[in-house]
Symmetry: C2
């Protein structure tokens, strides 16, 4: 019989993070590139005071513990206030991705049964377009100044009017730490979106685990730029990690092109920037145009999809440390840390880059296992490839009101199936070989589209690329390369084969190269293979063009 200890058991609570930051780091806070077109500055004490005013307003609107309150907004201080006020009440902050299709947005707002929807002014037209299909009784609020609400067919309240005149203190309630705090739907490639329902416990632990694993990125007294949106998996936890360590946050709003980001980062001396590779490709171009990186820029955290080696190399050559953090919506989201093992930190550049390619190393608190085709557990030897399963306090135990999706996602021991095919080195270094559904099966053998993409992108005349499978009567599936050129020198298929030949067998090489001006992106900024596959539904394989 184990014995219970004699320690206080205080429920972990999200609002305590902002209360701590308001006390400990009164000089830190948020810099937001506003919808209104200007730069807005605030401090953590002021954010706490306004979150308190907002909480009073939410209560007056009738929001009760357990209610879902949706947001449709870019990164900014009001969105941050909503995070804390909604969860602080014991209600659930449901962040909605503005890039979802009309159908998906209608589905998730109704599936969540949201009581209210807070909308950035530039996104009011999105809501207008689905106004007939909103959940019954939903209250709409425009996130803008009094007198600034744009003309709209919607009946909206004004954010600043809800706050105005309320007390700047709120008596935040206590509740169990397993209480739901946030809801985020995954933009799955198939089927309807599925909701991850985060708790106060999972959110606070995720923040502490992330801080422990990302000391070099989360540096007290500096500024972080979350390019990763607040509308998607809590912006990788940054609204919680930054206030705990005492970093300011620079919120880029909706303009994420290279030039806009460069100017903002340069002006605000951003130390660490977090986001997906597609955004950094744009920033890199701007840096190359200007001939220098933004002032103070030291650290880059890349997630969402893998950073190609050429991108890592370009940033590291400028002295900017690149850290890949792999994760999923179902993982809060961070599962790995990009920090190099100590023995490699002073290694030659190429060795460091070798070690930075891949998805990073396991975070304390997240357990990994690899499962083979017959359900057997595979060794963590850097070689065995299997499906990655994850377990921990920051991993979902099910999907919100979706028993079917839930029962498909877990093994008997309760581990979550990521759907990623991976290897794990002994030191926890994760290499994602492919999404199980993105693997290409040619003649009974698997080809990893990600591996080919990562090599092909190092070609100097390719800006970005994707490998997809096309049907082939003999081989079942064959890979083709879809590339966006970076110059007028279009590489030939032979050029690509020459580049790949050092790493791939002949039968693994793509059979064709097709150029596009841009690749289609998913609502979270990843390359949409689903859209590409649809686009190439009528594609004819070279073997049959003259038939």
């Amino acid at each position: 019989m184990s014995t219970k200890g004699l320690m206080q058991n205080r429920p972990l609570r999200i609002i305590d993070i902002l209360m701590f930051a308001a006390e400990a780091f009164p000089e830190q806070g948020l810099v937001s590139s506003r919808e209104e077109g200007d730069i807005h500055r605030t401090t953590y004490p002021e954010s706490l005071a306004r979150a308190s005013q907002l909480a009073h307003g939410l209560v007056e609107m009738g929001i009760r513990p357990g209610d879902r309150v949706a947001t449709l907004a870019w990164n900014g201080y009001r969105h941050f206030e909503l995070y804390y006020a909604i969860s602080g009440l014991g209600a659930i902050c449901h962040t909605v991705n503005p890039r979802l299709s009309r159908e998906q947005m209608i589905y998730i707002l109704n599936h969540a049964g949201d009581s209210a929807l807070f909308i950035d002014q530039s996104l009011l037209p999105v809501v207008e377009s689905i106004s007939d299909d909103l959940p019954p009784g939903i209250k709409l609020v425009a996130m803008t100044d009094v007198g600034n609400v744009p003309a709209s067919s919607l009946e909206t309240d004004c954010y600043e009017k809800i706050l105005a005149g309320n007390s700047r203190h709120f008596d935040w309630p206590e509740f169990a730490e397993e209480t739901a705090a946030g809801l985020c739907y995954t933009s799955g490639t198939t089927g309807n979106p599925k909701g991850a329902l985060y708790t106060h416990r999972s959110t606070v632990l995720h923040a502490l685990m992330t801080i422990a694993g990302h000391q070099q990125c989360l540096k007290s007294g500096t500024a972080a730029l979350p390019v990763v949106p607040l509308f998607h998996v809590n912006a990788w936890g940054m609204p919680y990690t930054a206030p705990i360590v005492g970093m300011s946050m620079v919120m880029p709003g909706r303009y994420l092109d290279g030039a806009s980001l460069f100017s903002l980062m340069d002006a605000e001396k951003v130390y660490s920037a977090w986001g997906v590779p597609t955004v950094w490709a744009g920033l890199l171009k701007e840096i190359q145009n200007r001939g220098r990186p933004p002032e103070g820029f030291t650290d880059l955290v890349v997630g969402g999809s893998a950073a190609p080696r050429s991108m890592i190399e370009a940033f590291e050559n400028m002295g900017i440390s690149v850290n890949q953090a792999w994760g999923m919506t179902e993982m809060s989201p961070i599962g790995t840390r990009g920090q190099l093992p100590a023995p490699l930190r002073n290694a030659p550049l190429q060795e460091r880059i070798d070690a930075k390619v891949g998805a990073g190393r396991r975070l304390f608190g997240v357990d990994f296992k690899l499962i083979g085709e017959n359900g057997e557990e595979l060794p963590h030897d850097g070689k065995a490839e299997g499906e990655l399963f994850v377990r921990g306090n920051t991993i979902v135990s099910g999907y919100y009101n979706n028993d079917k999706a839930t029962s498909a996602a877990f093994d008997d021991a309760g581990w979550f199936a990521t759907g990623d095919i991976a290897t794990l080195a002994r030191d926890g270094h994760l290499i994602i070989r492919d999404r199980s559904k993105d693997m290409i099966k040619s003649g009974g053998e698997w080809i990893s589209s990600i591996d080919i993409e990562n090599t092909a992108i190092s070609h100097p005349d390719i800006a970005t690329c994707a490998v997809i499978a096309v049907p082939h009567p003999k081989w079942d599936e064959r890979p083709i390369l879809i590339a966006v050129p970076s110059s007028d020198n279009l590489p030939t298929l032979e050029d690509i084969h020459a580049l790949l030949s050092a790493h791939f067998a002949k039968w693994q090489m793509p059979d064709d190269i097709v150029f596009m001006e841009d690749l289609p992106l998913t609502s979270t900024g990843k390359i949409s293979k689903l859209t590409l596959r649809k686009k190439f539904a009528d594609y004819v394989h070279p073997d049959f063009r003259n038939a």
Copy 2:
């Protein structure tokens, strides 16, 4: 009605820390200055393998979940293995302070009802001296190599024999995170020692909170020196924080004099050293003798009692950052962090030192309140002085099997009464004014002995000092200064008054100065005011010497 979220709930477990470090930081580990006289080196993977062997051995010895297993040992790799193996089984690691009095040691071993006692070879005589009063049936184990167990009247088993031949893998059980993991008795100034019973939850959260607040001290890939003993409050959590971030630990064993510490730190390039001021005074002297600090020494964490300003100044002048962390056995123990607020980090030296004097700033996860004489809550304005109460997951909710002490230690809302008189600034900066019981009441007014000590110690001819109250028929109590001189130039009482006059009123000044060769220390290395008061029981106040 709040809603439960849908996240996995995995019990926080101490053994997961070592399992993580063994995977993530295989090149890091422990360097121990051994009882056997040599330097021993091991890695986290090897520590985990040996902790597994030890766990098998403990099970064979009959240790079951909930059992108390005591250790009487200095800092070293075997003590570290015991920490993880005992708690990993669901049993309770009861660390015993070798500097306790015979009576106290008998009391706590019997009060805890320990099933086994693991003893460093140099401490076997301590146990021999109390062998008649040990708990019935207790098993004794000498922590040394096979064939190296010294002749003793005790019947002991040998540590390495217990491990030998066992599997290097152990299937660690799962249990609720509130399960007791560690037991440490406070060496209180009055009454019997009281036991703090830490849980797996409190220990893991304490480690994560400490890491979040001490980024500058806990730096991945470097070495830490815990001078703070493993036998006392988990060495301030270092056996847990260092493996999570990937630091090695340099274990100084029993020799804590300046010369021994300097040599060890210099050889092992210790980055951050953690301990009480009395030890750093010795190191400082050695540094002054040698004319340089140990190589790589960058960061100093001071706790247990306050570092005097002169000590902070001396280290900061060498470029070594001093961080005061205040805490208590009842707080796991760390309650504050020493990191300066960002705006002060590049301030002139004197301003930085001004901000470093005091007990540091509130750690995320620990709540503070100040209570005045009439039970009223006082403002955190840096001025109001009251008793400090604390609350949080790392704070005790009671004392082990001691209802009387428990009921005296908490207020109605469950906050723990620290017994410290303090001020709190708006940013959480804590200044301990005095232990309530160390305040001197003169003519109905309070005098802070700590304030006077902190100023008096800046006198160049005083090495260390203490202020105690002596009885006085007119004023009830009057302060006197007891000082250890640092040179042959003994300062006069007038010299001290001149030094104090800038900060203190005439009536607050000590009425006498008495010199001693050394001050008596408590078992945890703090100046023992209790012993001093006893020593000065027959002291006659100057006002009455010629009477």
